[in-house]
């Protein structure tokens, strides 16, 4: 028999006398009544509590409880830093777009002026063959700048879109922080309470769960936009 099992049984034996009286009280309720279930959960909680204390795990639980706020702070730090990083990237993208726009406008203006020179030189006035080639290549270059700026803008859009990781990971972190907070509260209860509080959980109005981290393991979620569109189409939307 394992160490924990033995301690649990020993703890159970020591509380048998009290337990017998409580059982008698509990047995008066209907077998599956809510009171009876609460009573049994309470009894299990007390047994677990005593066993943990005797095994010395109470200290471990207290340590775990003490460490949870630190874990929450660290997660909050990650959320804040990734958020700031995403904002910095978006600011940089905005600045780069402005530079690209100015470059495009300046190139367009210079191209028009060089075209005027090309037209002038086409009349055979004051332009060597090398000069004419230079003018043509310069005009061609300025014409390409607009297209290159468009391609750069597409890349900047990709960079901007990649910052959505902050929203998605942020939602997951928020859920983990909430979970840690809940766990902490539960640990505090286990540590300080000797009798359960018959507190009913309020069902959430909506059970929103944020980004699905493993959609391939579930059939109640969609994994991409096509899944959304197919589902809505099947409903006639």
């Amino acid at each position: 028999m394992g160490h924990i099992d033995a301690a649990l049984l020993a703890s159970q034996d020591r509380h048998n006398d009290v337990g017998a009286a409580e059982e008698a009280a509990g047995a008066s309720a209907a077998p599956d009544s809510e009171e009876n279930i609460h009573y049994r959960i309470g009894q299990l909680t007390r047994t677990l509590h005593n066993a943990l204390r005797e095994l010395g795990y109470e200290r471990d639980l207290a340590d775990a409880r003490d460490n949870l706020p630190d874990a929450r702070d660290r997660l909050a730090y990650i959320a804040r830093m990734t958020g700031e990083a995403a904002e910095k990237v978006l600011n940089a993208v905005d600045r780069a777009r402005t530079v690209q726009q100015e470059l495009t406008e300046q190139a367009g203006s210079l191209r028009n002026r060089w075209r005027a020179v090309a037209t002038y030189s086409a009349g055979g006035r004051a332009c060597t063959p090398t000069g004419k080639q230079l003018i043509d290549e310069t005009c061609e270059f300025f014409a390409d700048v607009g297209g290159q700026a468009d391609r750069t803008n597409t890349i900047l859009t990709d960079i901007m879109m990649a910052q959505d990781f902050h929203d998605l990971t942020g939602q997951v972190i928020r859920r983990v922080v909430t979970l840690a907070q809940s766990l902490e509260e539960q640990l505090v209860k286990v540590l300080i309470e000797t009798s359960p509080v018959g507190q009913r959980l309020r069902p959430d109005q909506y059970k929103l769960e944020g980004p699905v981290v493993a959609p391939q393991e579930r059939d109640d979620v969609v994994s991409d936009q096509k899944g959304v569109d197919d589902l809505l189409a099947s409903m006639g939307f």
Binding site: G83, A86, E87, L90, V93, D94, T157, M160, M161, Q163, D164, H166, D167, L168, G170, Q171, Y206, L208, E209, G210, P211, V212, P215, D220, V221, V222, S223, D224, Q225, G227, V228, L231, L232, M235, F237
Partner: protein, 127 residues
């Protein structure tokens, strides 16, 4: 519908609001305001005229479902197109959004092409 529709972007993450705003600008809709949750959005909707709502679902104070329900039950607001852009990928949520009157549903992460397609489709249907 105005030739330059005014968008209201509702999301509790400022990064996502900026992304959606920039994308809308890129696809030709530069007239947009932002709200950080449903409650703020509702106040803005009642204070000024908006032609299109792009909203997240999972937000504090008032989530996207509640905002959608309030919008659809308000005579002055119920005709405004309402596009959900959310990380909620559960089929039940998508069905619920459709039943509550959402005009479209985009699941994050999404692309510029998806946003453009949905917005244009909704606007075309609206006109």
């Amino acid at each position: 519908m105005s030739a330059d529709p005014r968008f209201l972007i509702v999301d509790d993450f400022s990064t996502m609001r900026r992304i959606v705003r920039n994308l809308l600008k890129e696809i030709g809709f530069g007239n947009a305001e932002e709200a950080e949750d449903g409650q703020v959005a509702l106040t803005m909707l009642k204070a000024g005229k908006f032609d299109f709502i792009v909203s997240d679902i999972n937000m504090p104070n008032m989530n996207g479902f509640d905002l959608l329900k309030v919008v659809r039950s308000d005579d002055a607001l119920k005709a405004i197109p309402f596009l959900m852009v959310t990380a909620e990928a559960k089929k039940d949520d998508i069905v619920l959004a459709a039943q509550c009157g959402a005009s479209g549903y985009i699941v994050k992460p999404f692309t510029k092409a998806t946003l453009e397609e949905k917005v244009q489709k909704i606007l075309t249907k609206q006109s």
